[in-house]
Amino acid sequence: MNEARVRWITVVLLTTVGLYGASRLEFTSSIKHFIPSEADAELVELSLELVDSPLVRRMVISVGGGPKRGEVAVALAESLRAHPEVAWVESGFDDQALRGVYELYFDRRMYLISEDPTVEIRAMLEPEALAGRAADLRRKLAEPGSMLVSRTAPEDPLGLFERIVERIRAAQSALSGGAGSFESASGEHAIVLLGLRSSPFDSGPQAKLLGYIDSEFARLDSAAGGGLELEMSGVNRIAVASEQSIRGDANFISAVSISVVSALFLLVFRSLRHLAIAILTPLAGFAVAMAVALSGEDPVHGITLGFGFVLIGVAIDYPIHLMNHHAFAPAGTRPRDTVVRIRSSLLLSGLTTTLAFIALALSDFPGLREMGTFAAIGIPVSLMVTLVSIPAFMGPSTSPSPTQNVLASASIGLVRWLDAHRVVAAAIFGVYGMISLAGIPQLRWEDDPSTLIAADPALLAESERVRQRIVDFDSGRFVVGLAPEVEAALVLNEQIHRRLEQATAAGHLEGIISLQSFLWSQTLQRENLRTLQSVSDLGDRIDRAYGASGFRRDAFRNFDATVAKPQAAPLRPEDFAGSPLERALDSLIELDGRWAVVTYLRGAESGEAIRNALAGLDDAYYVDQKEIVADIYQGYRRSTVRMVVFGSVIVFVVLQLRYRNPRHGLLAFVCAALAALATYGIFGLLDVPVNVVSAISLLVVLGMGVDYGIFSVDAARSPERLGATLSSVLVSCLTSVFVFGALAFSEQPALRAIGLTTGIGILFALALVPAVFVLARRT
């Protein structure tokens, strides 16, 4: 095949794959991506399910700043109802909602009297209690709300419906309202709640929705005279902002990388044509890896994209080595002849790097797996492009540039000096060892996954302000009851509710938001009715007690008849469908054939206090997502470190097999191993926290460090390549450091961790190259 055809095929394939990736480009910033997918612990599964549950698919909108806030909030809510991304909107109890509550509960009032019916209902029907209730009713009939009471009293003399309404009102005490729009606890802000159809981490539709809310509010505010203030709380806002930040970082990193690498190529090769040819390699690796990642249904994580840029730093090493060696080849050498000369070194370095990333691809983290797979595909593709396509774009060798000559001469001079001062060479290893020994024991691991993705502090503060305007539940902490059937789940929830009420009374909690305020088990509901029906002289008792307070005898006979023959069956979950309280059922979730009832907590004193409150209740769990996920991360961070060690062993074995010389194999390996250890040593000494991403980044250090080791040992075995090899390593190292250095300036902690770890690690590896060469040559 002639070189022109190779060029065309390369360009066409690269363009096709690139266009495919661009057409499917969709990425996410979900923290769920960094949670293990195959964890078998029940709580972890539960926590995973709830990460993307209706708990998270929710927004709170606050409108303040003027007397027209209520009207604007209601108008905004109306406008949002028609938006395709909005599943539901609640802005207040209007006439229809109030009627819905009445229709749901009034005919079922005798089912929902007491959670301890045998004791409480009997106590309610004692003569003294009835007399007190009659006097209370009489007083209420003279009060402003008397028309309400007079309407319901004939059919509900005991105020059973009122008890239910109060129970619901207490559960929603966050939102003072009544007949109007929802309000903040202070009454200074109108509140709108809305549910999302898509995941809040699905940035595309969420960004459109947020834009729509902003524009609609601006229009309504303007129509209302202006001056109103819109504030919002929702995971989607943080997710969209994070994505924008990632996009910004990606643009910044790519711009800086391209600029610096261009400058470096101009300096070394005196030609941007070399850069254009060399950049094909990482672009090809990136494009193919991206296309594979996007061929599935799930979007790629933004962090993976950032990590993909790391490939530029790794993969561009191969054409740099090729071009640099080609420059030092005798004039007129064909590029493919240069390839043959260094092919074994390139193949070995590509193989070891790929193996290191394959270890990462075996991770249980979807995010880590994605990164590992991305690199494990991108690296060999880049290597293949270097060996097959790049030579087609290069011409016969001419002569090295002055910079290449200077770098080669300086490298050779440094090696010669080290050869004459072997103590210094040995001392370098010693210094690395000391840094490692002194620093690694002081390493500070950070296992909170939320620290991997940066959120705008202003957004977080706004979100917190809005959350405080309603009495919201603690984010990420709740109690879950699990049962095989709905009825069993509701029975369990009654026990949980009782325990948590006791904990609240004891001061361990500020309060709870429980499904129990809205729905009881069929068992408890029927027990209520049975207990009421068991009072044979119910009508007479009421007549006697109420007659003494001025009520007509027989005024409440309808109630007696209704108790004997209720007009409705006990309340069931399905009865809530289409009612204004439908959202209350969001806390009843089907999980893989089982039913979970979630109780939200407010102001939990500690996890231990809640666990103590639930002691002895089977299938009732206290879930602290942050705590659980931190435990998971700790486990996976350790697992990742083990994988790094495992990958290192594989690489070591491959090197031993390749060189069939223990010393050469060890020297090719030690460059990477010591660089990785010393990097963590420095972090320990400087108190730089490390996380699971730092651990993954060690694989990059390992892969590139081994490359340097291989090139150094191979150069020692072929001394005529010394100048070309050392200058190649220096240029490729500088390229990588500039790329990773840009990552270290990212606003995203995860990308920053990659940048710092790899940047420092590669520099450490570079510094070992001359010493490795000296020691390898001696053998």
Binding site: G70, E71, D95, L98, V101, R139, G145, G178, G180
Partner: protein
């Protein structure tokens, strides 16, 4: 139908406001604004009411409920400040207050206080706005919401009767009709007939119209901390 009517009873506190709201729409009972004129038709009555200005009156309310053997008697003071403020402060049998202003209804008694925004309830908004409409003498809006019957009782000392029947089916499910009786510019009574047969009769006395209050007085009157009950 029964469900719909009873469900709406949840917002009946607002209706209660409405019932008190009509009170000051009459004229001065004891002549603080001088000579009384006799309205001969609805237009002239509304014209009279539109000049009422600030109103203060003592009220006595009798609630006749089917479940009680005797009516419940309530009395207190009522205040109106144009265009949209109303306060009803009851002294007997217990102290309670309702204040309507800026589209919000606040009521309080010994058990606490609650506030409603009228924007989300069509019924409440309609009824409370009716009150404002009458105070302003806005006949057009009144006609939009009610069927109106005006009966001048020429042979009875210039007396008149005004009967309102809500046009809204939902509102009619609660309030069947409201009947005002008065003499000249005097509103002497208001009778509210509910759809369940209960009725409420309000009688007014010591009415003063054409009042103007300064800012501090307005704040005091239209708050849940009622002023002295004595007019």
């Amino acid at each position: 139908m029964r469900r719909a009517r009873t469900g709406l009873a949840l917002i009946l506190p607002i209706f209660w406001v409405m019932s008190g709201a009509w009170i000051p729409s009459g004229e001065a009972a004891n002549g603080s604004n001088g000579e009384a004129r006799t309205p001969t038709n609805l237009d002239s009555l509304m014209e009279l009411l539109s000049t009422s200005g600030g109103v203060r009156a003592r009220f006595q309310e009798s609630r006749h409920l089917s479940i009680l053997t005797d009516p419940i008697e309530t009395d207190g003071m009522l205040y109106f400040a144009p265009p949209d403020r109303l306060a009803r402060h009851a002294n007997r049998p217990g102290r309670s207050s309702i204040v309507v202003q800026a589209g919000r209804v606040t009521f309080g008694d010994e058990t606490g206080q609650r506030t409603f925004d009228l924007s989300s309830s069509v019924v409440a908004r309609t009824l409370v706005s009716n009150l404002m409409v009458v105070f302003r003498g806005d006949l057009e809006s009144l006609r939009a919401q009610h069927l109106i019957s005006f009966h001048p009782n020429g042979g009875n000392g210039g007396g008149w009767t005004l009967e309102l029947e809500p046009r809204s089916r939902i509102v009619r499910g609660i309030i069947e009709r409201v009947r005002f009786t008065g003499t000249g510019r005097q509103l002497t009574a208001m009778e509210t007939h509910e759809s369940n047969g209960d009725r409420t009769i309000l009688r007014f006395s010591d009415i003063e119209t054409g009042l103007a209050w300064d800012t501090s007085e307005l704040e005091r009157i239209f708050s849940l901390d009622p002023p002295d009950a004595t007019p």
